[in-house]
């Protein structure tokens, strides 16, 4: 334990104390109250507190799950029971037919059908402001069609 601190370093510069009881007391003091030891404890504490605050300060990111759920619902909605495209669905009635209430935080695109905040599409691949997910849907009559879904963070604390 005595090797923990550099020789001659004490809390308040008491190197010149006389021998005897005062020196013994000072040795105990330098072990427990050393500036170096408190500095190490403070660094560890600050580090852990900072890491915890950074980790729990960020919201849970569920945008990718939301985008996937949206794609699944669009795929269910666009295809009929036989696996063909429902041709009656177009850009005007897609929200009603598929049962969506889209705020400015969502955007999706399937062929000619484009709904939601179209500005979000421009942010795809540029940072973490939006999450973009695209998947291919195969339909028996028209073949493969691409579904793009974009979601922005939309928490309301």
């Amino acid at each position: 334990m005595n090797n923990l601190y550099p020789k001659g370093h004490t809390l308040a510069g008491h190197e010149n104390l006389q021998a005897g009881e005062k020196v013994m007391r000072n040795k105990k003091g330098e072990k427990y109250l050393s500036v170096y030891w408190f500095a190490i404890l403070a660094i560890v504490a600050v580090g852990i507190v900072a890491m915890v605050l950074v980790f729990y300060g960020k919201p849970y990111d569920v945008r990718e799950i939301e985008a996937n759920v949206m794609i699944n619902k669009i795929a269910d909605c666009l295809s009929d029971s036989e696996g063909n495209l429902r041709v009656e669905i177009n850009n005007e009635n897609v929200l009603q037919e598929c049962g969506f209430v889209l705020s400015d935080d969502f955007y999706f695109e399937v062929g000619e059908i484009k709904q939601g905040n179209s500005n979000l599409k421009d942010s795809c691949g540029k940072g973490e402001s939006v999450v973009c997910v695209d998947k291919n849907l195969y339909l028996l009559d028209v073949g493969e069609i691409k579904i793009l879904s974009v979601v922005r963070e939309h928490e309301n604390k």
């Binding site: 334990m1 105990k28 072990k31 427990y32 404890l41 560890v44 504490a45 852990i48 507190v49 915890v52 605050l53 729990y56 919201p59 849970y60 569920v62 799950i65 939301e66 759920v69 949206m70 699944n72 619902k73 929200l95 049962g99 969506f100 209430v101 889209l102 705020s103 935080d105 969502f106 939309h154 928490e155 309301n156 604390k157």
Partner: protein, 127 residues
């Protein structure tokens, strides 16, 4: 000589105890942040919103929220913990707090505290 050894032992014990106290305080801080009411409010608000997004009409979904109820403010009514209104889920465990998250599925949803169950909430998706 024996007295000196005893002194060293006492010093070491005190030193270890102080370190353990310091570590305990840090661990308590981490656990208080990890399982706090604010974290649980966010977790359940998003979980319920995603559940509703993926749900179909006439579904009834039971969600176990026992851990959230334990963190609830004293006197706060369990019936008021989950409120779903205008496509927004709000989970509120405290007088000053709460977390809201919106969903895109155009369905009419009711949330009912399951008094018969064990700390559950029932999310009813209507047509």
């Amino acid at each position: 000589m024996r007295n000196k050894k005893a002194n060293i032992l006492t010093e070491n014990i005190i030193f270890i105890i102080l370190n353990l106290i310091f570590l305990s305080i840090l661990i308590l801080f981490v656990f208080s942040k990890a399982g706090g009411a604010a974290v649980l409010e966010e977790k359940y608000a998003k979980q319920i919103a995603l559940t509703i997004d993926g749900a179909k009409s006439l579904m009834e979904i039971t969600l176990n929220m026992e851990d959230a109820f334990k963190k609830m403010d004293d006197g706060w009514n369990k019936d008021d913990v989950v409120v779903i209104k205008d496509n927004v889920v709000t989970v509120k465990l405290r007088e000053k707090g709460g977390y809201s998250y919106s969903f895109f599925n155009d369905v009419n949803v009711d949330s009912v505290y399951d008094k018969k169950g064990e700390g559950g909430y029932v999310i009813i998706v209507n047509e």
